[in-house]
Symmetry: C2
Subunit: 447 residues, 2 copies
């Protein structure tokens, strides 16, 4: 994420590697496999999932390697006691040589729609499973959450402030990226800014105020440093007194930040103080354990808040902190014939074969990859071809723009905060036929 | 986390860096500051927090650097337009030269108790805030969750299987470590195994079974590869048929894995099939969206399950997916005098000064750092002294053993799964007096 070196092939579940050894042993490692990554079910409070994380998936697939230390470690494990010596040679020259197809970042997707499709030698596609799920799943979850928070904020800006509460600092870096794609104005994570060209925000914390004997001195020092970007955190001692101290310093300033208390009432009082001092251009930011459910009533009640900083609940997607992403084998070319695979149990029914998703104005259609449609957008396109980039990926800013346009086009019932509904998703006749046929074949022949 | 190179100083909130520039400008950058990291409040479903992540905090503090690319980026930001040129020189030679004190990993802590204390030049202690919060907060959250899951499982093993649903692949690596400290037997994350010497587990997924034309062939191939470690995933087509296929192959095997359906009923039926085939030593593992609330009734009903694999809900701590960790300035040596700082608002009351925590059999006492007590364990000890390790840190295995012993000593009401209670935590008379005095001074003098 932060370096250009190799990404260890060991960053995966052990069973991917034992399966890899087994495929190698069985002569199946180089069979062409197709896996697809989907959101199995949307969480109850989500009417869509906003795809994000593709850039990091590509980064992984182009940089994954097994270094000597990795191989030595595998040799030390009992699970590999029977693995052939050639297996380690295969890992030593491991590169992703397959094709990656995906929906662009910033695309709303629905349950069962492939977010990405990997077609590669079985051993390569299998080992990649864990990393792809985690990086796509996490960024998709945060981008989706961000889209909800941004929607609740209406015209007001939302800045992502959550790294300190992210699930590791590294998750914080990616959360800032995903939140931006979801519509945030920027992030407080400075490395996110540097790595992805995303606007960064932040001025001072309570510790700044505490570090000076007097609040007024702390404020004056901040103004000298930041000028028209100065945002005073006003609640270290007493919020409204803090606003008066800030107002007394006059321009230049950006405004004040309210971090605790009744944000609706305090914002009105702060506005009056600032206006009374002639600082009508000064802005008010609100922070402190915010989320879409707390922002909406503030906005609806007309609280004079210009920007929200949202941290903890955003980066952890606290009301839906897990996303059920899965990665399933759907095709395998074995001994010169193509087999379609799927699960057909009552609990886990899936469709076989590589797919395309067609987006119509009022519904989506999941079809076989070879199908074509007029008047619909085909969402899935090539990203890596034989391991090499098909074309430059859109950056986070382009993904954010795509998301904004696509979300605006979704029906309100998908986007509403409470009890949202998914879009209508249909399966094409050809795909249904393929599923029936595959099921018949599997039920007849697996035992 | 996975390399030995520098960790970018930009992996922090921008306001830490603007404050750093301001401290530098104000001549305060080298003043000795003490910050403490605490859990402000325990989540409703947590009766304790199990401290974890110290090793990664140390890794950060000993490796954080500003490389040229970082400095170039900062120079490009409007927030640093007024920063002195010398500021960048200060960042270029940035090293953590301070002291770190902490409770050992695997120690249960309660609201308000310092998990770690940083005493360092203000600029160093401030910039470290974000990373320390995120790495300690995340691992502490997961270790705590793991302790609950392990407790629910009683004598049965719990293995962490969650990387694919972690909040990024990198979070998955650390989640495996934290879960192990919390009492899990091991992890599926192979890199976690290599980096931290933690046992790794895993055999095969549904895709393995689907990759062969017949389930029996997939099973036979797996047995040849894994021998007595073989665990058959039996629900690809029909769970009990799968168990029969596995039983028909006979020894060697470890057992079967049930991944869907009514795990209580299926485990009994699977047990009967295995026993009927003479495989009384074969074991049964259960997986599939498990957590402590689902495991407890299985265990209480006597379901013949030998091991649980727990993923999604464990690594995301799904029922309490955020932990309110904070990092507060408590002391500052300014112009030769020591000032004690704290927040005294109704909403956020904190205690000033560096602290010690004394653990008695039936309660904890938070005291001033200089206090001594007979008959109580002092939890906080030196980890880094002037930036150098005070002594080798206990490894994850030692932390896990410490946690097991410490958790067993906690009262049942802290450990119960539903509506747990925190331990009784008192503040020493000296600390209370310091708080009163500091409050009086601050209220008199900050404006």
């Amino acid at each position: 994420m932060t370096t250009s070196g190799p990404i260890s092939g060991l960053l995966t579940d052990l069973y991917e590697l034992t399966m890899a050894a087994g495929y190698f042993e069985a002569g199946k490692a180089e069979e062409r496999a197709t896996f697809e990554l989907t959101v199995r079910r949307l969480p109850a409070r989500r009417g869509f999932a906003l795809a994000a994380g593709l850039a990091q998936a590509v980064e992984y697939l182009t940089r994954v390697r097994f270094v000597e230390e990795d191989l030595r470690y595998l040799r030390s494990l009992p699970q590999f006691a029977r693995a052939a010596g050639d297996f380690y040679e295969r890992l030593r020259r491991f590169r992703f040589t397959g094709d990656l197809l995906a929906v662009p970042e910033g695309t709303p997707v629905f349950a069962g729609e492939p977010v990405l499709t990997v077609s590669a030698p079985l051993i390569e596609a299998q080992i990649a499973e864990t990393y792809l799920l985690a990086t796509i799943g996490f960024q998709t979850m945060v981008a989706t959450k961000a889209a909800r928070v941004v929607q609740a904020a209406g015209e007001r800006a939302v800045v992502e402030f959550g790294t300190r509460r992210a699930h590791s600092p590294q998750a914080g870096v990616l959360a800032g990226r995903a939140a931006y794609i979801g519509g945030c104005t920027g992030t407080s994570n400075t490395l996110t800014g540097r790595l992805f060209g995303i606007p960064v925000f932040g001025t001072a914390a309570h510790s700044w105020v505490l570090a000076f004997p007097k609040e007024a001195e702390a404020f004056l020092r901040l103004q000298r440093l930041l000028g028209e970007g100065t945002t005073y955190i006003v609640d270290t001692y007493d919020t409204l007194e803090g606003v008066r101290q800030a107002a007394a310093l006059g321009a230049p300033l950006w405004g004040v930040r309210l971090d605790s208390g009744d944000l609706g009432a305090l914002s009105r009082q702060a506005r009056a103080i600032l206006d009374g001092a002639g600082l009508t251009q000064a802005k008010i930011m609100a922070t402190g354990d915010l989320n879409e459910y707390k922002i909406r009533p503030l906005v609806e009640s007309g609280a004079p808040i210009d920007a929200f900083g949202v941290g903890t609940d955003l980066v952890a997607s606290a009301d839906a902190p897990t996303l059920g992403v899965v990665y399933k084998l759907v095709e395998l070319e074995s001994d010169g014939t193509r087999r379609y695979t799927a699960k057909f149990s009552k609990e886990k029914y899936s469709y076989p074969g590589a797919k395309q998703v067609f987006r119509y104005p009022d519904h989506d259609e999941i079809a076989c990859a070879w199908e074509r449609r007029e008047g619909a957008e085909a969402l899935i396109g090539p990203v890596l071809v034989r391991g090499e980039p098909a074309s430059p990926l859109p950056d986070a800013t382009a993904a954010r723009a795509r998301a904004a346009a696509a979300l605006a086009a979704l029906p309100g019932e998908c986007r509403r905060l409470s009890a949202p509904k998914s879009r209508r998703v249909e399966y094409s006749p050809a795909l249904k036929a393929l599923a029936r046929e595959s099921r018949r074949r599997m039920e007849g022949g697996v035992r």
